[in-house]
Amino acid sequence: MSDPASPNTNYGRRGFLDALVLVIPAIPFALVFGLAVRESGIAIWLGWSSSPIMFSGAAQITLITLLGEGASVAAAATAALVVGARHLFYSFSMAPVMQRQPPWFRWFAPYMLVDQVFALCVGKQDLPAADFRRYYLAAGMTFWLFWMTFTALGLFVGPVLPTGLDITFATPVLFMGLLVTTIDSWQKALVAVFAMLVTFLLADMPSRSGLLIAALAGLILGLLLERFRR
């Protein structure tokens, strides 16, 4: 995805360029969110305001759609929280590297901790603190600007989306590439395969909660492997 690091690497630029690759397949989703706001009957400025306030695509679309359908606030909020619960793992995983960061960044960084930013940054935890911060901010701000722009655009151009538009196939391919970069031992490979298997077995669970259980199962397996290795 990017050139090997060198002492002169500009990590701000690198974070921007790496993020740009993952932005492209997310464009249709952002446009569809704009459409969902229009269809929900909620005032468009109010629906769009969830983009800067929540900055959490799948949870936003869940919340807005359910509220638009007349679901109770409690039901809509609960469903959206379940959809976004995987972020707990991201927070857990990022905790050690954030210890080396200044307090302002520890408070600000979680706002931008979306799937793509986690995927890009989880493999960069060995960078010097300042370089990691530049990379994280560049990637996060790139996604933030993209999401604000394209969800707003979706409010107006969503209705004229071509029905054959299909570039989202690239998302799992790109994430698979990022997954591979996080694997540098047979134990991690085993954990990844195990998590995939559990996800497959739990595919029918509601609200994608199988993903959470699979990730937890993978983490427990990792703990056991470490324990046996010591």
């Binding site: 619960a85 993978g218 397996l221």
Partner: protein, 87 residues
């Protein structure tokens, strides 16, 4: 007003889920085995995410209770065929 309040509360909830461990554990030292174990979070979560994307059935981007209610409209599904959790 209720919807705005809901969005604001959800914004706080979304932030809290991302921030909870980063902030709570900011002053705690991790034992070496825990640091080693944390290295598995990335592969475990990413693998589960990729498999979810690959498995996602029609409308799978959304919770099941939505996809059975005619949402999203069929023309949208052509745009969003197989993936989930764009973020």
């Amino acid at each position: 007003m209720t919807i705005l309040l809901t969005i604001l509360i959800m914004g706080l909830g979304s932030y809290a889920m991302r921030a909870v461990f980063i902030l709570l554990l900011s002053n705690h030292s991790f034992p070496p085995w825990a640091l080693k174990a944390l290295e598995y979070v990335g592969p475990a979560v990413m693998a589960a995410l990729v498999m979810t994307m690959l498995l996602s059935p029609e409308g799978g981007r959304l919770p099941e209770f939505m996809s059975g209610q005619g949402w999203p409209p069929q023309q949208w599904l052509h745009c969003l065929p197989e993936t989930t959790f764009t973020f």
